[in-house]
Amino acid sequence: MQRKGLVFDIRSYAIHDGPGLRTTVFLKGCPLHCVWCCNPESQTDSPDLLWLAEHCLNCDLCRSVCPRGALNTPPQGGKSVALELCDHCGACVNQCPGDALNLMGRWLTVEEVLAEVMKDALCFENSGGGLTLSGGEPMAQAAFATDLLRSYKREEKGLHTVMETCGVAEWASFQRLAEDVDLFLYDIKHMDPVEHLRLTGRDNRLILDNASALAQMGREIVIRLPLIPGKNDSEANLIATAEFVRKLPGVNRIDILPYHRLGEPKYRRLGLPYALAGISSLGNECAESAQQLLQRFGLEVRIGG
């Protein structure tokens, strides 16, 4: 049986996920739980049922079609899903007239994913773009990611590949697919292991080791630094990051991703609390002063990537 991957979105015309026009495949599941995550629906490793209050017509059709009685209308209104009952069959989603219900995450084969990706082959060719793997964390489905990259590169004669990763995976997994990735967009969230643990749920040892090992292998890497006000934007952390990056052979670019609150509505849709509720988006000046600081270490620093 062919291996399937849990894909939560395939988005074409992605122009910020590497060079050229790209199609980004988002794989579900993430070993980290960053408090600022703007794609919370991507963290779990099973499909999620999403309900959008703005679109709901209160027709109750969803409840009537659910074969497992998993949907409820709580007294305060809205919809709630009994996670232990729902088997993600999608019946309610297909029925929902308002498109208020969405199933985030579909199990797809490598072929199915590539059929979608290759539709934009002409755009890739004309722009030097290609396939980007993102997530969640693509390495959370490392075996599927390996198959996907290999088929794209070898069978489809695919063009450029990018992987956005937080670096959390066994080194052996990285080793298996590294050759098929032309560019890693590699997140470093905090240099201090304790802080890292506090902000993401894990320490950063594996992340830093893998970054060094990939750089040793000669893979092309751009470091990404999501900059969160009051969380990791201290001068000390910026300096530590710059010093680490400077030591990576062949790596000299950092992209700053300034924090924004645009992920917040998704938390509401998922019924999750938003940990950064009181924090506002990072201003241009803060991003620029971080940029200047990092540049002093001889690094190429872009804002926004």
């Binding site: 910020h16 017509l57 934009d120 002409l122 992209d255 991703l257 609150r261 917040e264 988006s281």
Partner: protein, 810 residues
């Protein structure tokens, strides 16, 4: 009203002359800025002068042949034209006394002016100031004479009631019922190379070859003589400007300006009578020709066509001979931009709504292919892009022709100018255009030398006639197919009875009924067009236009009577996307899934979805839509196009021209939408229809590449033009890398056979509209710092935040 004083004629200090900065980094010169400011500050005004000349001339020439009268009319217009040279001008010639003014064309249609005269200054769309004196003269001297003589009255009398009804109910729309056919792509190159004198010599040759046995000989002679009158009028217009320029030069205290004026006067004494030699002569000759066309009739889309091609030899000559510098050449082109921007035309309030803007579709082309199939980009192409960047004026409409061999440098420069946010240049696929033109009978060389005219129509400049006759509302045809020929909004029987849709047993019966309605109204529209066209042929010869379009002189046949070398007729289909989505909804829910009954659907359409929101939302949200590279829906769009093309292509007009389809709406998708009942795609009655070949607003949620793949499935080469609008956020075109991506997007669409793309940079206006009417903007993808989401899904608060960022380019 403020009218800028035209009395001062001092030279404008030219900042660029004193500095040796390369022209790329300079903006508009002071005199260019002055012209822009003058245009901006002068309210469009209705002028009476032309109307009076024409009325007097017609009165005095009764009894003469119409050809002679039209020739004399042009001479009269020119001799009574008030000649104005504005401050700082190097290239002169105005359509009316004030910039952006409109003459009245009483011989064609003044009944609407009479009707709207007191409201013209205050109407919401394209108002024109009218002075009391103008009103009084129009009422006393002009209107009374034209009753039943003007062309619009003849059309009203000649068009049968069933056609008027279809027009009023929004099935078809004919935009030359109120003004001439327009769409003139004159052979400006002919005037530049031969001069008016050379054209007159051609006419004399043709006169000498007339066969006395030919029973049309008398007519042909009269026509040819009228062409001579028209050419003479063109020359004397320049002569009058020359005299005025000299007069001003004599009184000019500033020696610099004096020399400029003297040079301009000398140029006007040579062109357009004689062939142009220098770049400035060529531009002046071009402009006099363009003015004459604008004074002869009131059609829209008088297109300069392949401007960079016919001007290049003169540019080369002037630069190589050291006569002008590069920056001087740039200034001249910038000044021509200002002149284009002076051109407006007051339109009937009904039409002002379907094309609701002042710009008159003066489509200026750059790039593309040479007649031999090589890259045609030259220095003048870049001067034009710079002129747009310097002036940011809405006119002329700039179109870039992009062939697969077009150098990346040119395409990237186009993209760079595009991101300034004027929506220009519009991008055209030259290869697809050539394919289509050859299919429509042009030689390969002529096909490559073709240009875009109007918004996206294709044209072989200097030898063509494309009577683009107006719109055909495909969604209304579907409405009739789903209502047994009855108009859902008025209850009138309009079309053939194609059966009660409740009895349809399969999807093909729906398509068959649609086909019958389309065929019926296409035939009706052809009758409409023919009636109108024949009236223009009979009552409105255009000797000047005929002078500059081959082979009117050789054939001794007026352009309005079909004298040109090529001629086609076109019909513009509106709402391909809406109909495709509507058919997709019927096929999927009624016939494939059996989840909605036909009777239930028809009832919901009848009551405009009242109490049927769940059904409506199901149809909107659970139907495959055209625009997402989904075969189910796209195949239906392809079929809709095929049905329409097949129906249209089966006709010829009374002058023997083959009918072809184009798919462009201007803004008619709004006006025609208002006359169309609810459609099965979930669209409410009277809401907008989809536009051009674009998917239904907000239904292409898979991003631009998927949308383009869908649109490219249509057969673009089979049409005389298609129009695709794309929204892009400013952030996606910020860096040079982004420009490469935009270029790649364009190349990919063109490689798939797409024909035209224009880009709206998402600005505050679009975002505000998306907050108001989210259903039309579900495709609006917002990208902020590495993150993207659909704008309408964001909370109001976040939307506000993005809105405030939009001000600083996201």
């Amino acid at each position: 009203m403020t009218v800028i004083s035209l009395k001062a004629h001092r030279a404008v200090p030219d900042e660029s002359a004193s500095q040796s900065v390369p022209s790329e980094v300079q903006g508009a010169s002071a005199r260019v800025r002055l012209g822009m400011e003058r245009n901006r500050c002068t309210p469009p005004e209705l002028h009476v002068e032309r109307a009076v000349s024409v009325t007097h001339c017609y009165r005095e020439t009764e009894g003469l042949s119409l050809f002679t009268r039209r020739g004399r009319m042009l001479q009269r217009i020119v001799s009574e034209h008030s000649v104005q040279i504005q401050q700082g001008e190097l290239i002169v010639g105005m359509k009316t006394l004030t910039p952006r003014g409109s003459p009245v064309f009483p011989e064609i249609n003044c009944s609407w002016v009479e009707r709207d005269l007191d409201r013209l200054a205050t109407r919401s769309s394209t108002p024109f100031f009218v002075s009391d004196r103008t009103k009084q003269i129009l009422r006393a001297e002009v209107f009374p004479y034209w009753k039943d003589r003007q062309i619009s009255d003849r059309i009203t009398a000649a068009v049968p009631a069933d056609i008027w009804r279809a027009d009023e109910r929004g099935l078809i729309y004919n935009y030359f019922r109120s003004r001439t056919i327009g769409h003139i792509n004159a052979g400006y190159d002919k005037v530049l190379t031969k001069g008016m004198a050379g054209i007159v010599a051609d006419v004399e040759g043709s006169l000498s070859r007339l066969d006395k046995q030919d029973r049309d000989c008398v007519h042909k002679r009269q026509f040819l003589e009228s062409v001579i009158l028209a050419c003479e009028a063109g020359v004397s217009l320049a002569g009058r400007y020359a005299a005025e320029t000299l007069r001003l030069a004599a009184a000019e205290p500033d020696p610099l300006r004096q020399a400029e004026l003297e040079r301009t006067a000398a140029i006007l004494n040579r062109v357009p009578a004689k062939p142009a030699v220098t770049f400035q002569e060529a531009l002046q000759s071009f402009w006099m020709t363009h003015l004459m066309i604008n004074l002869e009739t009131d059609g829209h889309a008088f297109g300069p066509g392949r401007f960079d091609q016919y001007l290049y030899p003169y540019y080369r000559h002037s630069i190589d001979s050291g006569e002008i510098t590069q920056s001087h050449a740039q200034e001249l082109v910038d000044l021509i931009w200002v002149k284009f921007d002076e051109i407006t035309l007051a339109k009937d309030s009904g039409e002002a709504q379907t094309s609701s803007s002042y710009p008159e579709f003066q489509n200026l082309n750059i790039g593309g292919l040479t007649r031999a199939g090589h890259d045609a980009v030259n220095e003048v192409s870049y001067l034009c892009l710079d002129a747009l960047e310097h002036t940011m004026l809405p006119q002329p409409g700039l179109s870039a022709q992009i062939a697969s061999l077009t150098p990346p440098k040119f395409l990237l420069r186009c993209c760079e100018v595009l991101r300034l946010g004027t929506g220009m240049p519009a991008m055209f696929n030259a290869d697809s255009m050539v394919l289509g033109m050859v299919n429509r009978g042009k030689t390969l060389g002529d096909a490559r030398a073709s240009s875009l005219n109007g918004c996206v129509a294709t044209f072989c400049g200097g030898k063509d006639r494309m009577a683009s006759s107006g719109y055909f509302n495909l969604a209304k045809a579907l409405e009739l197919a789903l209502n047994n020929g009855v108009d859902r909004l008025t209850g009138e029987v309009l079309g053939p009875q194609t059966g009660d849709p409740r009895d349809f047993t399969c999807f093909e019966e729906v398509v068959a009924a649609f086909k019958v309605q389309v065929e019926h109204f296409v035939a009706l529209k052809v009758r409409y067009d023919n009636t109108v066209r024949d009236i223009y042929a009979r009552y409105c010869p255009v000797p000047f236009t005929s002078a500059v379009i081959d082979d009117c002189i050789a054939n001794a046949v007026d352009w309005h009577s079909g004298g040109s070398h090529y001629k086609i007729a076109t019909m513009s289909g509106v709402a391909v996307g809406t109909v495709a989505d509507a058919l997709s909804a019927i096929r999927k829910h009624v016939f494939d899934n059996h989840t909605v009954g036909m009777a239930e659907l028809i009832d919901a359409l009848d009551c405009n979805w009242k109490g049927q929101e769940i059904l409506r939302q199901t149809l909107v949200n659970k139907t495959p839509h055209y625009g997402n590279d989904d075969a189910f829906a796209d195949e239906l769009a392809v079929r809709v196009q095929d049905i329409f093309c097949t129906a249209v292509e089966s006709h010829r007009d009374t002058q023997g021209a083959q009918y072809w389809v184009d798919l462009l709406p201007t803004t008619s998708h709004i006006a025609l939408g208002e006359l169309t009942g609810a459609t099965p795609d979930g669209r409410q009655a009277m809401a907008w229809l989809s536009e051009g070949v674009s998917p239904v607003q907000g239904h292409d949620w898979k991003g631009p590449t998927a949308s383009n793949r869908s649109v490219a499935k249509l057969d673009h080469a089979r049409t005389n033009g298609t129009l695709l609008n794309i929204k892009i956020s400013p952030q996606t075109v910020k860096s040079d890398r982004d420009l490469h991506n935009l270029a790649a997007l364009i190349r990919a669409y063109f490689a798939q056979g797409g024909f035209h793309m224009q880009f709206n940079i998402i600005d505050r206006k679009i975002l505000l509209d998306a907050m108001d009417r989210p259903e039309l903007h579900r495709d609006l993808l917002i990208r902020v710092a590495g993150y993207s989401d659909y704008f309408v899904l964001l909370s109001k608060e976040i939307q506000q935040e993005i809105l405030s960022r939009a001000e600083h380019g996201l």
